[in-house]
Symmetry: C2
Subunit: 409 residues, 2 copies
């Protein structure tokens, strides 16, 4: 396996990889999330554009740049999601959309779960757990299902029926607790770590980000190493945007690209905590806010990866933008009807963000833009409920409708 060490985002302290080591012992769980560092100079000698990676291969092709050995039956069908390329859509001459809604559980979280599952097996754990209300839970439950791992999912008891059903079908051991998501997260950490279970909680476990960074790798490889000017991604906890920054930065360090795309974070107006922390400036300090948005995957008031996200975004040179729920819902329809990509609300927030930045001149029509859509619209059909009020016809009316002139339906 490739060599690496862990480094604290806040104090810079270095650690050797060790079973059960998730955060910096000096800085604590939220401030001291670790990142994984490789020997890029040495990797540079074996990795090149021509022979290392290919367009539709899975996450397994990046094994040299990941702190894990793949061993499950499903590994080679995780990652390798489509990068659609369109001309002249949404006012942009060349737009790309990376769509991770086409994935085993239908979201970007599969990239993290597959690392967690393999790492847990590699380190000899018999049980894995996470706290989640949504995509991370269904991703872990499904991706661990074919292995021998026991899987515990801690959820708030008011989890929507549809989401619960998917977890039950996957055979996960579900612990619905009468409490808020934030408290359920803390309870799961208490119980899981005490019982020596492997932790797949977003932002706590630094290995998860390593899986997520492969989305950035794929954007570059699938675009034949041409680097987009901007890459827009929705932000909740801050883990995905951190991973995108890290992925581009690593490809740069490896000499595979000559520049790094500017990464732009799309947040909902009603849940913009990471943006607030970023704009408050250094030193970045976690805060907790009340939030409310239709985009449930990014409805986070206590972003656990905010320090990492802000630190990485500062280095990248990107910034955050907010969009309203109305703009998000509209963007779901605009994306689907222009490209065929049916996104969950959080994914469509990237298009809403693009439209805003185009209208205020920060992005130009000749800029090369990539939107990252992290979840399938089928995950949250209810968010679009209002769209279902359309006119119905009797048989006679239907026939009349199409006699002679074409009518607008």
């Amino acid at each position: 396996m490739v060599e690496y060490y862990l480094e604290c985002i806040t104090c810079g302290k270095k650690y050797k990889a060790e079973k059960g080591l998730y955060w910096c012992k000096d800085c604590g769980s939220i401030m001291g999330t670790l990142q994984i560092i490789y020997d890029y100079e040495s990797l540079k000698k074996t990795i090149d554009r021509d022979s290392s990676f290919s367009e539709r291969d899975s996450i397994v092709q990046f094994e040299e740049l990941l702190p894990v050995r793949f061993s499950t039956d499903i590994d080679k069908f995780i990652g390798g999601t489509p990068l659609y390329k369109f001309k002249n859509k949404f006012g942009i001459e060349n737009i790309m959309i990376k769509f991770d809604g086409i994935s085993m559980s239908g979201s970007y979280k599969d990239r993290a779960s597959i690392i967690a599952v393999n790492k847990a097996l590699e380190e000899g754990y018999d049980t894995i757990f996470c706290a989640s209300t949504g995509n991370a839970a269904s991703s872990l439950a499904l991706l661990s299902a074919s292995t021998l791992l026991d899987t515990y999912i801690f959820v708030p008891s008011k989890i929507p029926r549809g989401k619960l059903v998917q977890l039950v079908a996957a055979g996960a051991r579900i612990v619905p607790i009468e409490s808020s998501y934030d408290q359920v997260f803390d309870i799961s950490l208490d119980i899981g770590l005490k019982n020596n279970w492997y932790c797949r909680n977003s932002a706590v476990n630094p290995y998860l980000l390593e899986g997520k960074k492969t989305g950035a790798y794929e954007i570059i490889v699938q675009n034949n190493y041409e680097v987009p000017d901007y890459c827009i991604v929705a932000v909740g906890d801050g883990t995905v945007i951190s991973s995108i920054c890290k992925g581009f930065s690593e490809f740069y360090k490896l000499g595979l690209i000559e520049k790094i795309p500017k990464v732009l974070g799309a947040q909902a107006e009603g849940a913009a905590t990471v943006k607030h922390v970023f704009e408050n400036g250094k030193p970045y300090k976690p805060i907790i806010e009340d939030v409310d948005t239709v985009a449930d995957s990014i409805s986070v008031g206590n972003p656990r990866d905010v320090v990492k996200a802000c630190t990485f975004m500062e280095k990248n040179g990107g910034y955050f933008t907010t969009v309203s729920d109305e703009e998000i819902i509209h963007a779901i329809g605009e994306m689907a009807s222009e490209t065929g990509i049916f996104s969950e609300p959080a994914g469509a927030a990237t298009l809403a963000c693009l439209k805003k930045l185009l209208s205020n001149g920060k992005i130009k029509s000749c800029d090369k833009v990539c939107l990252i859509v992290t979840g399938n619209g089928l995950k949250d059909v209810d968010a679009l409920g209002e769209l279902s009020n359309i006119r119905k016809y009797t048989v006679e009316e239907a026939y009349k409708l199409f006699e002679g002139v074409k009518y607008e339906v």
Copy 2:
């Protein structure tokens, strides 16, 4: 483009390809569906195992065996779905699952829609239509969205909200008619053909089956040309199973495989019309039955492709088996919890069928079996409603649960 002609399944009459030709003029729309025939001897000279096809490539790699030229921005992300391979699951030593729930619209129908969209563009149509309540509608609406085609979807007005919403998001022109699905189908044909729109109705247009046959091709290619003993697929209209038979048969004619897998059709006990027609024997005659099953994708009482399905299955040597709704629902959970594949009810019917054939000795544990799962479980979460009744815990109870001994949750 590759050369081909059309041949009537019932009377054998041959036709040159012609714009607007969908069925045999002598036999009529249901009895006289056509099939597309290529010059296999000539194709044999250019197609081989070593260089023609690869594991994760899209439907585009089969262009030499398809009656269409690909021209849209999304073609190369249709098909190329996972073929998962597992050891010792469900009592089978070597089982494969082909999962088309991971696809642009989340179902096998994308293979047909992409052919229809490209064919409509190639022949200069400005409008395309279909009648559907489910997967075919969302597939066409999403796959035509990025093109210049106008898309009309005829649906019964009591279509579920969730399905309607997806169509509205895709920007399709929806015509909800207060009538049964069977009547809506006929109305759509009347209106669509009169207006000279391209027809994407399952079983009417013989080009659709050509897209669907690529699933069979991929099973062979992705399994390194090792042929499974059995291939199980759910049956509603009869188009998919016909296409699977044709795909295997063509690979055999091309000398790419030495034997053909036995194709087994899984039908719901409450909707087994194709099985009834098959077992009534030749000449196969369409019948109409009342049907009722939880598996809405195969809840078909007037199967439009029954003559083709029975004819092809007779040649293949396969047969049909029925499974109960209870077995189907149970199979969704069993498949998800053993493999991580979350299937819609119709797809899980294949596992229910396998279990039945194992228990009555028709399939043995050493047989190599492939299940074809045609739709994503996220398409129909409501079917699993009863699974959501699980116990909830207070914070104190949750902590107590994991003190000392591990509890069953």
